[in-house]
Subunit: 258 residues, 2 copies
DNA sequence: CGTGCGCTTGATAATGGTCAAGACGCGTGG
DNA sequence: CCACGCGTCTTGACCATTATCAAGCGCACG
């Protein structure tokens, strides 16, 4: 039997309000955690000029696909997106989950083709930033240039953390780490740190963590039996944060530092 | 019994010649595969001004360590370097091997501290580029800015490839992939594609590939029994490139695209 | 009220880790 | 030049974790 948790996701009324109003970086509610933060307020208008606000994507649609020509990077405003690559054997490898205010698509810069696909896990909206415009603007705004260097540097570092997790940690530690990360991600977004809604399937989680679906499922059950989590399908309640941290250590991909 | 392979590494005489002469980007023999390539030749002097050429590092010394303040990025000129992080549990996680003309240290940009350590596997020389100078120069030289965006993008992509390798491939496939990568790396450097000298230990290889030393060793012997490689300690001879590619697929971290 | 997909659970098997011992190779010092 | 010793590599035996296969459950959706 499923117990309905309190609303932990976006507030629908607010969402609609945002979507209805004419959007610009100045009145966007991500403002405080988003890109324009690094710019002097009188320069946000330049950024506003090149950003294409409010592109929306239905659930399970692609924002871009591996091999598509790279033209823009994207900032996620609402919803959730998974990034994945397709292996030579035709298997899918999930490389990351993205939440509001995060920047996607920068792995396409190196050879002008997207190196991964981005598919929405639920209805999502993004801002699109044409990359050549961004580069031009960056030469004029050292802050902006620096911000993007930082952003990419962080993604490199997060990749290294995931590599470490995959090669050194057990199934239990991997799942615990992910839950802790999502909790931190919620906290950053001013949502509950103890109630996590998972927009992705067990298969996606397993794929991301290098585990089979079955192992993910078993691990959830086990963490529940240990009294660390309570699992209601895609709603996770963290009962023992310290216990979770004890298992996790390492790996904090969603504790963004910028 | 060990059979001595032909010289496959750097040519000592040439090395010494380079080290003796006054170095600058214009007369550096990496020239054609290195950073200045992207600059108009009359602008190389600006880069030359900020680069500190020819810093040398003894075997097993650190170029920088995790947690050190981030000030510069480095280009490896000769030798080989491994990058690694230390996990919370105090274990080492090798995140990459670097060879001449590759750029190190960019994971430190995001929070001004190096996110990994870099230790030389053999006597090495590097060029040091103070990052703030580089950023300043980048605002004036769009090509340079673009080059560094590409470089970091590529590192993100390579991280994703390693992640895929770790979560989807068997021990055999991982080792085969690494050998193929090193072969490609040699080829890029105009060295033999079939004779590979491994500057790193079996332990480093295992650590990088998420395997135990024993498994790495067993895998080498197995690949040898299959007639794909011949293993003389740290000298590897590739007997069947196609067979190796067959096992590898995926994962080409050293086939740099820029 | 079915039908199907996603999730859970159980039984079994395989890959690779761990522990232990021995071989080899290299540098040191006699 | 050889003997020694240590560190690295290899090999073997055993074991643990997790994948795979299989079946059943439950919720969502038509």
């Amino acid at each position: 039997m499923t117990i309905q948790l309190a609303e932990v996701g976006e507030v629908p009324a607010l969402e609609q309000c945002i979507q209805a109003s004419k959007v610009s970086c100045s009145n966007c509610r991500l403002n405080s955690s988003c890109l324009p933060l690094v710019l002097e307020s009188d320069k946000i208008m330049y950024l506003d000029d090149i950003i294409q606000h409010h592109k929306s994507i239905q659930k399970n649609q692609h924002l871009y696909q591996e091999g598509d020509e790279f033209r823009s990077v994207y900032i996620l405003r609402t919803g959730a997106i998974k990034a994945y690559r397709t292996t030579d054997a035709g298997l899918e490898q999930v490389t990351g989950f993205y939440f509001p205010s995060e920047v996607l698509g920068m792995d396409g810069i190196c050879n002008n083709f997207h190196g991964s696909s981005a598919k929405s896990l639920e209805m999502a909206t993004v801002c699109q930033i044409p990359f050549t415009s961004l580069e031009k603007l960056s030469t004029k705004m050292p802050n902006l240039q620096h911000y993007f260097f930082q952003l990419m540097s962080r993604q490199i570092k997060e990749g290294q953390q995931l590599i470490t997790l995959l090669s050194k940690n057990s199934a239990e530690e991997r799942v615990a780490s992910l839950m802790l990360s999502l909790s931190a991600c919620n906290a950053r977004r001013k949502l509950s740190a103890t109630r996590i809604r998972l927009p992705m399937s067990r298969a996606d989680i397993g794929n991301y963590l290098g585990l089979s679906v079955e192992t993910v499922s078993r691990t959830f059950t086990h963490l529940q039996k240990m009294g660390i989590l309570r699992v209601y399908n895609k709603e996770i309640e963290v009962l023992d944060t310290a216990g979770l941290q004890n298992l996790a250590r390492e790996f904090k991909p969603y504790e963004k530092c910028g």
